[in-house]
């Protein structure tokens, strides 16, 4: 190749690399700039925490609520952040358990013929559009879960009514079931699990395959059995890569939008009950951004929500990166 072509390709590739970096920075700057428009005075930060209100009995109470329409918008971020984690954390845990199991199966146990079928199937799971999965959750999963929960709820309700059960004596689980709704955080979390699973499984599998064969051979040579080797030698050796895949799964789950909009019920409630309806940051932005007038308080606040989400996801992914870098130095 002549000098011109070489220079052309080299510079072209450099531009691509820097363009990606520039894109990231510019997107963040745009979102941050629009988000900062939500602050007028220094004291405005408290409006995003909560507000005082008088309840039906005339008592004053401090509420964290999100009601963005009306004469006085209530814009507390707390229920949104709570909702986001109520969906993403259980999803990340389920995906970690299932995904690591799949990864161990694929890398240590499965014969090659099975691998050849399962890996493409996993990729295909990843390529299902999340709106389709959200629809599946809304129509099928929510119904299935409700068929198990509702009879229990009716039973508890009847028992409370005829006095055989006192409200103060309910166990935590019973209280959770009594407050349950058909669209809830758990249904959303299950949907997000389906979306995160291929990511966690494939990254964990790579980490497990990267463990050198010598370690396995050494373990067998010392008399360990197959499962002893897998659980106490291979997985600990790969734990940095596997842990990183869990964190990346969490990061992906934090940003999931379509599934939570359709399946979680979108109620801005602060709760630890997975059977209750929650409202995530992503669903709020998706549902409300189309209808606000550009330049108003709620418009800027929604960008601030996006900014907050950006920062949370950034820290999760950053943590994942640090984990990997440490791992590469620490091994061998």
């Amino acid at each position: 190749m002549d000098l011109f072509s070489e220079r052309f390709f080299e510079n072209g590739v450099k531009v691509c690399g820097f363009a990606v970096l520039a894109l990231l920075v510019l997107i963040f700057l745009f979102v941050a700039k629009e988000g900062l428009g939500a602050f007028g005075k220094v004291g405005d930060i408290y409006r995003f925490w909560g507000h005082w209100d008088t309840n039906w009995e005339g008592k004053k109470e401090y509420l964290h609520s999100w009601q963005s329409t009306g004469d006085v918008p209530k814009l507390s971020f707390l229920p949104l952040i709570s909702g986001t984690f109520m969906v993403a954390v259980p999803a990340a845990i389920f995906a970690a358990l299932l995904g690591t199991g799949v990864a161990i199966f694929l890398s240590e146990i499965a014969p090659r013929a099975v691998r050849e079928v399962m890996k493409p199937a996993l990729e295909m799971l990843a390529s299902i559009p999340s709106v389709v999965i959200g629809f599946f959750c809304m129509v099928v999963l929510a119904g299935l879960l409700w068929n198990s929960v509702e009879p229990m709820q009716t039973h508890i309700g009847d028992a409370l009514f005829d006095g055989s059960l006192k409200e103060a004596n309910l166990s935590l689980y019973q209280k959770w079931i009594y407050d349950a709704t058909r669209f809830n955080a758990l249904v959303g979390a299950l949907g997000v699990t389906i979306v995160i699973l291929p990511l966690v499984a494939s990254l964990s599998e790579e980490a497990l395959r990267a463990v050198p064969q010598e370690l396995r051979h050494a373990s067998y040579a010392l008399g360990a059995g197959r499962w002893q080797t897998i659980l106490f030698v291979v997985v600990p050796a790969a734990i940095r890569g596997v842990g990183r895949s869990w964190l990346l799964g969490l990061g992906r789950g934090l940003g999931e939008t379509m599934i939570v909009v359709m399946a979680t019920g979108n109620a801005a409630v602060i709760t630890l009950n997975p059977f209750q309806s929650v409202r995530t940051m992503t669903a709020t932005i998706a549902a409300e951004l189309g209808a606000v007038d550009q330049g108003g308080l709620v418009y800027h606040t929604l960008f601030l929500v996006g900014c907050g989400l950006f920062i949370i996801t950034f820290f999760v992914n950053f943590g994942a990166q640090k984990l990997l870098r440490k791992g590469m130095g620490a091994q061998r």
Binding site: W146, G265, V269, R279, G290, A291, D293, Q294
Partner: protein, 285 residues
């Protein structure tokens, strides 16, 4: 080769909607989307030169699009708020408000478990603001009330908040669903659910029951339906307490095409489509 590319590019450009003569873009109310589509279909059959595109997204989205000049007309199931009106005037345009039909905002409960036989406006407000949390407090079998509502971009949501909740906030555990059809689906599957929306979405369904509403203490409860058909005089005379107008809005003057479409909508033929879609025609038609 170059000429083909040029024509392909021009062809693609011609596909961009809404800014064209002969093209009308209408965005907004989910309540009105089916009605609007039927109007557009029949109008386009009579006037093949005009292309009308209808999208939903909620009244809020439609009015925002009107403010941002990304649509020609906006469908709305509530009136424009003063703040929104000011935004449009700021752009130098006068807001044109066109009532095109009426609607009864029906309140529904599950058809099988039917927790209540009727409700008063006061009870309805109490239920949706979180003051009343159990069906036994409003005369039904004991059980927690599960509230279904729309998202904040919905005109139905806003109208309900202003006229039934008297501008109070919704209870935080009201579940926001994307459209009235979703509300109907959810209430049909939830024995303790309550929901609201344009009566057209509920009239023919047997798995939800429309609840008669009484306008005040001591007054008789009124249902917008008799059997499965809506009774128009109840809405025209506001005997059914939650009756509302449906509007089309334009920022500025109507173009000749748009004027033709609006005339069609308000004509007897257009109002007949309103009746067929189970909405209520304008009074006096």
């Amino acid at each position: 080769m170059n000429r083909t590319k040029l024509f392909a590019g021009l062809f693609a450009l011609a596909m961009i909607p809404s800014a064209h003569a002969g093209q009308i873009a209408i965005k907004g109310s989910d309540t009105m989307v089916i009605l609007s589509q039927k109007w557009a279909e029949t109008f386009m059959k009579l006037n093949p030169a005009t292309k009308i595109s209808i999208t939903g997204g909620g009244t809020g989205t439609g009015i925002a699009a009107l403010i941002n000049n990304t649509t020609n007309l906006a469908n709305a199931s509530r009136q424009v708020a003063p703040a929104e009106r000011a935004q449009i005037q700021k752009g130098g345009k006068k807001l044109l408000e066109i009532p095109v039909a009426m609607d009864a905002l029906a309140v529904v409960v599950n058809g099988k478990s039917a927790p209540v036989k009727a409700l008063t406006m006061q009870m309805l407000m109490g239920i949706y603001t979180g003051q009343i949390n159990d069906w036994k407090e409003v005369g039904g079998r004991p059980g927690r009330i599960v509230r279904y509502c729309r998202e904040s971009n919905s005109g139905t949501y806003e109208y309900f908040k202003e006229h039934v909740l008297m501008k109070k906030d919704y209870a935080p555990d009201c579940q926001g669903l994307p459209g009235t059809a979703a509300v109907a689906e959810a209430v049909s599957k939830d024995g303790r659910g309550i929901g609201y929306g344009g009566v057209a979405y509920f009239g023919k369904r047997s798995d939800v029951r429309v609840v008669p509403i009484s306008p005040g203490p001591g007054k008789q409860a009124v249902s917008p339906l008799q059997g499965t058909k809506v009774v128009f005089p109840l809405i025209w005379k506001r005997v059914y307490p939650i009756s509302r107008f449906l509007y089309m809005y334009k920022a500025g003057a109507l173009t000749p095409e748009e004027q033709k479409f609006v005339n069609y909508v308000k004509s007897p033929a257009g109002q007949k489509i309103v009746v067929d879609t189970e909405y209520i025609p304008l009074p006096g038609k």
